[in-house]
Amino acid sequence: MLDLFFANFANLESLERIYPLLLQGLRLTAILSLVALPLAIAAGLLIAILYSFHHRLLNAVLLVYIDLFRSFPVLVLLILIFYGLPFLGVQLGSFAAAVLALVLNNSGYYGEIFRAGIEAVPRGQREAALSLGLRPVYAVFLIVLPQAIRIVIAPLATNSLELIKTTSIASLVALPELLRSARVAQEQTYNPTPLMAAAVIFFVLLWPLARLVARLERKMLASSQAHLLQARGAR
């Protein structure tokens, strides 16, 4: 039983043969994350800052944008971009398509998170900053945003972890990132050890992040409960 398990899921021989493939896949997964994450955060931040000027028409458009991209499964977006756009003459490589899909999808999520954070900062903060002579842009970046980010640090961390996990869908448009490399390796070795190895690599890399995220979420929940109770007690 245990022999069978090792022969299939932790076969050192096949591991030795395919580990260069896995390493290359890991490298691509890392690059994809490092490119998509900052772009998505920047896009989300831009949306939230635009929202914070409370222009009625613009805000309606931004909310539609946010909800639209939060509603699209990111894989549907990726398939549309990768297989649908070439009919219009726009041909993106699998890496570019994956980055674009991840950024569009997550700009909605980050936009909503930053927006909620900025809305939670009392308006007086911005008014005070403006009345002290700060220009509107400085008021946003120096006064409002630092407070907003502290409020939404937990969902920010959650979403960033989710983005990194989502990079694995690029395997479905033939980008040889970690999951895809493992599948290719599996077909070469007739043995699921590469898949097991990929799962273990993902787990080892993402587990500390997942713990951190859980801690932040728990803290946020506890403090929001404390606030609620205080509010009730004061009444």
Partner: protein, 223 residues
């Protein structure tokens, strides 16, 4: 403009192929609903089991939660479908997708319910016990009704984002709406089926996303 209509809103193509896309949509909705029911159900059960504070059981639950919280959904699905058969467990694409997504959702649901239970002041337990309620009475009549309400906003977003993973079933050739649209697109050499699939997804998820926004505002959550 003409090219856009021709390629993405081609009624001819849609008229010919919409039955198979709709059949795919039924599969998508089935997977989504089963995932939510199973995932939330298992999550609540595990959170209740954690309240018993049995050391070994807790360790197992924590490991389970951490594994499925850390792994990407697609990795779980691909692993279940392509690797488990070597261990003698062969699942259909449907079962593999539902079980994988439900496992991931249940991990997050356990965490959400457990965090909500912990967020309740200890006084709630003490008060219920001192009024003569037993452990189970306290848990089910006093603690859980409050905890579930606290957990719902946390859980709603999670449930939606994981349910969107039904599209990942295409990776194991589950005939859900995206996969159907893709194969029809290949036959018709026209991406209009993708447009329809995307529109169907929006029909399902836009109401959920809007509802979760409303839920959060009502709860006064700063997120």
């Amino acid at each position: 403009m003409h090219a856009i209509v021709e390629n993405y809103f081609n009624l001819d193509v849609l008229g010919r192929y919409y039955p198979s896309i709709l059949a795919g949509y039924v599969v998508t909705v089935e997977v989504a609903l089963l995932t939510i029911a199973l995932g939330v159900g298992i999550g609540l059960t595990l959170a209740i089991l954690r309240c018993l504070r049995l050391r070994v059981l807790n360790a197992i639950i924590v490991i389970y939660v951490d594994v499925f919280r850390s792994l990407p959904q697609l990795v779980v699905i691909v692993f279940v479908y392509f690797a488990l058969p070597y261990a003698g467990v062969s699942l259909s694409p449907f079962a593999a997708t539902v079980l994988s997504l439900a496992a991931v959702l249940s991990a997050f649901a356990t965490e959400a319910f457990w965090a909500a239970i912990l967020a309740l002041p200890q006084g709630q337990w003490d008060a219920a016990r001192s009024l003569g309620l037993g452990f189970l009475g306290t848990l089910f009549l006093v603690v859980l009704p409050q905890a579930v309400r606290i957990a719902i906003p946390l859980l709603a977003n999670r449930a939606i984002s994981i349910t969107k993973g039904t599209a990942l079933g295409t990776a194991v050739s589950l005939p859900e709406v995206l996969g159907q649209a893709e194969s029809v697109m290949a036959i018709a050499a026209n991406p209009s089926p993708l447009t329809l699939a995307a529109a169907l997804y929006l029909c399902f998820f836009v109401p959920l996303v809007v509802a979760s926004r409303w839920l959060e505002q009502r709860q006064g959550f700063a997120r």
